[in-house]
Every structure is written in structure tokens, then in C-alpha cells.
Amino acid sequence: MAGLAAAAIGLTLAEAAIPLPIPGVKPGLANIVTLLVLYRYGWRMAAWVAGLRVVAGALALGQFLTPAFVLSLSGGLASLLVLAWAIHLPQRWFGPVGLSVLAAGAHIVAQLLVVDLWLLPDIRLTAVLPLFLGAALVTGLANGLISHHLLTRR
């Protein structure tokens, strides 16, 4: 588990170094690890790995207990909850890609909720909703495909 969490943290850190055009949109590569663990070892393990990743990643990036950390945590929790539900969907119908997209959606919705309710209550966020949801769709799809590839490789 420590190794898997370390892999997730590594991806988080690597991702933080990539410059991205739009603030707030990032690929969330570490979620690939969460998905893999979910499929291989079940939800509890995935929750541990994701939780460790959020906390340790924030420590490493120097944003522990900052708003960015709260955002990361809320997104992580929301996607874990959705995954807990989605993993019980019939396997024949829903694969890693569907789960990944659902989790990415939950992630960004939770984050926007936190921003809306706590960080920037004065700003109407509906304007950025399509942008972020669309980004979640794309990154969820990409991460799901990568996860699928890794899961079926051996």
C-alpha cells in the first residue's frame, strides 16, 4: 500500500510541475492509481491510497491545510464516495472509463461547491461550470483509458 501511495504521490508532484493553460484544470493522473487499486484490492485500500496521497502530496507541495488542500481533500472524498457506489455497478456495463469519468465529475463538482460556499461566495461560478465539467470529462476519459490499459495488460 505504501508503494502504491508513493506512486500516487509521485504522480501528484510530477503533475504540479507541468504548466497548464487554465488554473484549476489538471489531468489528475494520480487517480489512475486510485482506480487500479480499487479494481485490484477493493475500495478500502483505494480510500487509504487516495487519502495518503492527498495529505502527503499537500505536505510535499507545501500546501497542507491551505485552501488548495481543502479543495484537494473535498474532491478526493467526493470521488471516493462515488467510486464506492460505482464499483458495484454491473461489470459488464461499466468499466474503468465510466468509473473514472464519474469520479472526475464528482471531484470537480465537490471542489466547485467548496469554492462557491466557502472560498468565493460572491462570485457566480456557473459561468465556469461547463469548462470544468468538460475538462473533467476529458481527463476522466483519458485516465480511464490508461487505467483500463494497465488493468488488462497482464
Binding site: 477493493g42 485552501p67 464499483i87 461489470q91 461499466f94 469519468v101 459561468a127 461547463p130
Partner: protein, 127 residues
């Protein structure tokens, strides 16, 4: 592990449910984007005493009356620009500021009114 560890996923990368999820997602994004296509272009946020008094688009030319503690200020929106046309404050600083650039703000401190041209301006960027 207590959770049912599912057997290895089938060969298909995208199963029917995945497609449904994706299509629903696309539909949602498209709907939201279409729904507010016009609200994305410039917005003006008028605050009185720190609270949002009115949010307006930049598209229609008009004059908005904003009552503050000193009296009524007039915010003019004209040709996609916005300015404070007149204000009861003694020094008229916010009026002389003229048209407010995108992302800019004019504040009539005596009358406790601020007008923000929120057209695609970031006010904080933080990673």
C-alpha cells in the same frame, strides 16, 4: 479484502454504461454551455457596502441607478463599456476614473459603491 475484488475487466475499453456516462456528460456540458453562452461575455458587478447590489451584462446600453448612503450614483453601460457616470461623492474620483477596463474596478468610497468590470479578468491566480 472485504470488498468483492472484481475479476479482471473485460477486453472492451468502453462498455455500454461507459458510453452512457460519457454521452450524459457531454450533453450536460453542452446544455450548460448553451444555457449561458451569452452570460459569459462581459459582466458588471455592482456592490454597495460590499454586498452585490446588481450583476449586469455589458450588452445593453443603459444607466443603472445605485442608491448608496450619500445618494444615488449612476452607472452607465454603453457600447460594451462601463463607467460611473455620476456620483454624489465630494471628490468624484470614481467618475474621473472614466471607463473601467476589463478586470478593473472603480470604487466610490464615500458612497460605498464599487463597480467591477468582470469581463474575463482574473483577480486571483493560485496553484
Amino acid at each position: 479484502m472485504s470488498e468483492p475484488s472484481p475479476a479482471s475487466p473485460s477486453r472492451l475499453p468502453l462498455r455500454p454504461g461507459d458510453w452512457i456516462v460519457l454521452l450524459c456528460g457531454c450533453a450536460m456540458v453542452a446544455m450548460l454551455a448553451w444555457h449561458q453562452a451569452d452570460s459569459l461575455e462581459g459582466r458588471v458587478i455592482i456592490r454597495v457596502d460590499g454586498r452585490v447590489y446588481q450583476e449586469a451584462g455589458l450588452r445593453l446600453n443603459r444607466i443603472i441607478e445605485v442608491p448608496g448612503p450619500l445618494g444615488v450614483s449612476h452607472v452607465e453601460i454603453h457600447g460594451g463599456r462601463v463607467r460611473i457616470a455620476d456620483d454624489p461623492g465630494p471628490r468624484q474620483r470614481c467618475v474621473r476614473q472614466g471607463w473601467i477596463p476589463p478586470g478593473g474596478q472603480a470604487i466610490c468610497l464615500p458612497n460605498r459603491i464599487s463597480v467591477e468590470n468582470a469581463a474575463a479578468g482574473y483577480d486571483t491566480l493560485s496553484y
